[in-house]
Symmetry: C2
Subunit: 217 residues, 2 copies
């Protein structure tokens, strides 16, 4: 059960968060904080637990500069302390499901035979996604869920973030060699510390009235 | 900047979280906690800030029982303290964008004329999503991001959750009258407190090795 401290901390930090447009390039996320942020991605939930994702952290500034024009020249791409490309699997085949089953057995000391029903459920569900792009869209949903875990974790640690959809997935995929590994870039997260002259930081958060967003039945 | 306490709290709570299959039906989320959870959804980020979503909280137990067979009879649907259906907009037309522009002006005391470029960007982006279902998929991505914010907030408050994809969106949509309002159910979240006899609670979390999930460039 929660106490007032965690409620207050959470409420405050989620209000404090905003999509940071100007990062202070001199401020870097500490290794301790980065470890927590990676854990928030690693431990994010996903459908069936399949983790159909790959997270590419780009430190190489030459690579970040190369990606800049493919990101509408948004300065976050080069100014933020860390840049993460969140990529989704483009397919989920029985071999991938098998690798997951084997991982469950390894972590939990189980026999594969006890997981045949679970294997069948997963393969059956994936096979039901017959529309073009449906499997990749489903994987992309999981990637956005993981992004939510990351942004939330960063807010709790008072680390600024900017989720970025304004980039060329084709250019990122090529630069990172993602397609040959079976992944496609879906969304980018810049993380670090806001610049003191980011005018957006001081603006009120714009949300529709709660009664328009929430419905109670 | 963060301190060790928030790192430890966050690491611990995100490990503590698991997809709860058995909720204790006698334990209810307090109104103070529920307020924090709703705020995590309300303040979730979305592309352009458009909030293309609707969150339906179902307290009516008759309705939850009616939805149970459309949810693979997963007991979380009736046993959890709170059940939230996360729905995405099925279209984002210029009228909706206009309502968002008006909301920005109201909240920030701005003139619409100063936002014409932003309006054009949003309408232009939506118009570029020409593939069948592309707008709805884009909105669904935002909904999953919001789900991540909700699950993470709940974990910090030590409230159990189960994200549920195993339900009939068509049946939920019909029961909740979502299509006529321009929304479609994408994912469901059950929230409450784990039952002491949920065998899954004690199992080790299964994740692929970090080096398989993370790439450093």
């Amino acid at each position: 059960m929660s106490n007032t401290t965690s409620n207050d901390l959470l409420d405050k930090q989620l209000l404090w968060r905003y999509a940071t447009k100007r990062f202070d390039p001199t401020k870097k996320i500490s290794s301790r904080d980065w470890q927590s942020l990676e854990q928030s991605l690693l431990n994010a939930p996903s459908s069936f637990g399949l983790q159909p994702w790959r997270f590419v952290t780009i430190s190489d500034m030459d690579l970040r500069k190369k990606l800049l024009p493919h990101s509408w020249n948004q300065p976050q791409v080069v100014d933020a302390s860390h840049l993460v490309v969140l990529a989704a699997r483009t397919s989920v085949d029985p071999e991938y499901v098998d690798s997951f089953i084997k991982r469950i057995c390894a972590v939990r000391g189980m026999q594969e035979a006890t997981l045949e029903q679970y294997r069948g459920m997963m393969n059956g569900f994936v096979a039901s996604l017959t529309a073009p792009g449906a499997v990749e869209n489903w994987c992309a949903n999981q990637v956005y869920l993981a992004l939510g875990m990351l942004l939330s974790a960063a807010a709790v640690l008072e680390i600024d973030t900017c989720p970025i959809e304004g980039f060329s997935a084709a250019a990122y995929n090529e630069a990172l060699g993602l397609p040959s590994k079976g992944y496609s870039a879906k969304v980018v997260a810049a993380l670090g510390y806001r610049s003191q002259d980011d005018a957006l930081a001081g603006l009120a958060k714009v949300r529709f009235p709660a009664e328009q967003i929430f419905e109670r039945r």
